[in-house]
């Protein structure tokens, strides 16, 4: 009996080890590529899947250990000044929003999340690489079920004052090795940059880096540069996980969480 039990324990261990190794191998599997060697950020032909489960729920400068509630509220308001390198007015506004229980969050009335908040909003994201027109389309399941275009044809980023400002900005992109680097300008000021209420102005420029480090992991880094709001550019980073299936339908309805 004891021997059988030992054997079954051993078998169980072996199965667990195999499953764990299998999962690790799957997570570490090399990212799929196009015939020309470029990394494929989207699904393979015949595959179903998308990126989701953003590894961060609130925007905070990389390297800062700050605790938030799931809705973006700081566990300790004394940490406010460490979230980002604020100018005095933006720190005061951030604190006001925090202490006002985030009641004026534009997303509560179904306004778009804007960027980079869109990249922290669960619901899924896909990258549609249009190599003929040299564009990358990103479609989102979270927020307002929106999409954005990253122009990959070598054009310069638009001058913010000369374009109609939008929630997601106007982006140009290029490949640096296996990393897609997108620079966006032309943001409106009708959204909060995070669920915690980080402010910005029309001077905002975002530089985003997307790198599919394995089949199932996408690394994301964003540099926030808004000299009217922050004293210096700052970075935040998180990851996405590959989720099998299709992005589910969802729509924002005012008055419902």
């Amino acid at each position: 009996m004891t021997t059988r039990k030992r054997m079954s324990n051993g078998a169980l261990m072996a199965v667990l080890l195999a499953v764990t190794c299998g999962l690790s191998l799957q997570a570490m599997a090399a990212p799929p590529r196009y015939a020309d060697g470029k990394v494929r950020l989207d699904r393979m032909p015949g595959e179903k899947g998308y990126w989701d489960k953003p590894g961060a729920a609130s925007l905070v400068e990389s390297g800062k250990k700050i605790e938030f509630l799931p809705n973006g509220k700081l566990k300790n308001i004394a940490d406010a000044a460490n979230v980002a390198p604020f100018q005095p007015w933006s720190l005061a506004l951030y604190k006001f929003r925090q202490q006002n229980n985030l009641v004026d969050d534009p997303m509560k009335v179904c306004m778009g999340p804007g960027n980079p908040r869109q990249m922290m909003t669960p619901g899924g994201v896909r990258f549609i690489q249009d190599n003929n027109y040299k564009r990358m389309y990103m479609i989102f399941g979270g927020g307002n079920h929106n999409w954005r275009t990253i122009y990959m044809d070598g054009r310069d980023p638009p001058v913010a004052e000369e374009v109609t400002a939008t929630f997601l900005g106007l982006a140009v992109g290029k490949w640096e090795g296996d990393t897609l680097v997108a620079t966006s300008t032309g943001f409106n000021t009708r959204f909060w940059m995070s669920n915690g209420g980080l402010p910005h102005t029309e001077a905002l420029t975002l530089t985003e880096k997307f790198k599919r480090v394995s089949k199932d992991v996408l690394e994301y880094e964003v540099t926030v540069d808004d000299p009217r709001t922050y004293t210096r550019p700052w970075k935040a980073a998180w990851t996405f996980s590959w989720v099998p299936g299709d992005i589910e339908e969802q729509f924002c309805e005012t008055g419902r969480e």
Partner: protein, 124 residues
């Protein structure tokens, strides 16, 4: 019913113009009534360049640029100095109320030459 519809339209129009950036950015409109019953509208167009609040008093043919505009986030107090096209010195001393709302208010005392009055601007 018509009133309800009009109200909803107004609300949706206002929400569409919601502004979440620097709290003074935008167009502010205030009205005052003189002793003789005459109405006067004062318009301030303001923006933040990262260091200073700049702007124009009554934009148009008689518009003049601010000499100084200062926002103190402590209490959201705002002071403004500007000279009218007619040459009168103007000093405004006020504070922002309803900070989180799109139609926030800037209320305070307007001193123009030797006269002064209270005024309430609303962000459009």
């Amino acid at each position: 019913m018509r009133h309800l519809l009009a109200g909803l339209l107004l609300l949706s129009a206002a929400a569409a113009n919601a502004q979440e950036g620097f709290p003074l950015d935008g167009t502010w409109r205030g009205e005052t009534v003189g002793k003789d019953g005459s109405h006067r509208t004062i318009v301030l167009v303001m923006q933040w360049d990262g260091k200073h609040v700049t702007g124009t008093l009554n934009p148009g043919p008689n518009g003049t640029d601010f000499a100084t505009g200062k926002l103190n986030p402590e209490g959201w107090k705002f002071t403004l100095d500007v000279k009218t096209r007619q040459g009168a010195n103007v000093h405004f001393d006020g504070a922002i109320a309803d900070l989180g709302k799109y139609n926030r208010v800037l209320a305070g005392k307007w001193t123009e030459g030797t006269s002064s009055f209270d005024i309430r601007f609303v962000l459009e």
